[in-house]
C-alpha cells in the first residue's frame, strides 16, 4: 500500500519536473532571437558580450568578423571567433574544452561558457548593458579581421 503511494508520487514528481523544465526551455526559446542583418541598414544590432569573472571585458559587434584572444597564451586563454554573425570559441587551453565543443551560437540568450577560465560569452541586443572602454586585467592581443 505504501509502496503504491510511493510509486505514484515518483511518477507525479517525474511528470511535474519534466513539464516545468520543458516549459522553461520553451520560454527560453521564445525569448531568443537569431542574429540577422536588417535588410535596410545591414546591421543586426546585436553584440556578443564577453564576461570574465563577472566583469564584461569586451563587446563584439556581430556584424564584423574578428578573432579575439582573451587571456594570455602563457597562462589561460580562449580565442573567440565572430564570423557571419556566429560566435564560437575556436581555441582554448582549458582542461575540458567544453567551450570549444559547444560550437557556434547565433541566438540571443544563448551562452558559451568556459568554466575553468571563468569565461561566459552571450549574445544580446540590449545595448544598454554594453560598457565602453573598460580595461581588462589580462593582457590581450587582437588579431586582424578574417577575410
Amino acid at each position: 500500500m505504501q509502496e503504491k503511494k510511493q510509486r505514484r508520487n515518483t511518477i507525479l514528481l517525474a511528470v511535474i519536473l519534466l513539464a516545468v523544465c520543458s516549459i522553461g526551455l520553451l520560454v527560453q526559446r521564445l525569448n531568443s532571437k537569431p542574429v540577422a542583418k536588417d535588410p535596410e541598414t545591414q546591421d543586426s544590432g546585436m553584440v556578443a558580450l564577453v564576461s570574465l569573472n563577472g566583469q564584461i571585458i569586451r563587446s563584439l559587434d556581430l556584424d564584423e568578423d574578428v578573432n579575439v584572444l582573451i587571456g594570455d597564451r602563457q597562462k589561460d586563454y580562449n580565442v573567440i571567433s565572430v564570423k557571419d554573425g556566429k560566435v564560437s570559441v575556436t581555441e582554448a587551453n582549458c582542461a575540458d574544452l567544453i567551450c570549444v565543443k559547444t560550437g557556434q551560437m547565433q541566438t540571443s540568450g544563448d551562452i558559451i561558457a568556459c568554466l575553468p577560465h571563468g569565461l561566459i560569452i552571450y549574445i544580446t541586443e540590449d545595448l544598454e548593458t554594453v560598457v565602453d572602454g573598460q580595461d581588462t586585467q589580462a593582457p590581450r592581443e587582437e588579431e586582424a579581421a578574417v577575410e
Partner: protein
Amino acid sequence: MSSRNPVKKAAYLGLLCAAAMILGYVESLIPMFAGIPGMKLGLPNAAIVMVLYLYSWKEAFLVSAVRILGIGFLFGNVFSIAFSSAGAALSLLCMQLAKRSGKFDTVGVSIIGGVAHNAGQILVAMCIVENARIGYYFFILAISGVVTGMVIGIISGDLTKRMRRTISHE
C-alpha cells in the same frame, strides 16, 4: 539490515566505493552532449543510492567523499573536486530528505538525487564564473537528471533488494 561485523561492513563499503569510482570513469568515457557542461549519465549515483538504502546517509556520505577525493587527487583538479562535491552534497541531502519522508520509492529518490546533483553544480558554476547566466543550462540538465535518475533508480533499486539479502545473511 546491515552486517554487524564492522570488518565485513568496511569490506562492503569499500566494494561499493570502488564501484562508484569505476562507474565515474566509465561515465567519463561516454560522450553525452559534448557542448553542455555538467551533462552526465550519473552512474556513480547508483552506488551511492545503494549505500544510502543498505546502510544510512552517514555511510553514503563517507563513500561519496572517498570517491570524490580519490578520483579528484588521482585524475582531476581543484575544479573537478569542487564541482563534484557541490553536486554530491546537495544530492545526498535531498535524497536523504526524500527517503526519510517516505513519500518516494527508490526511483523517486534517485530522480531527486540526479536533479539536485545538477542544481548543485550549476550553483557552484555561478559562483566560479560570477555570473548568473550560466543558469541557462539548468532546464536541459534537469531533464537529463530526471531521465537518468529514473534509469539509475530502477537498476539500483533492484540491486539493493538483492544485496540486502546477501548482507544480512552474514
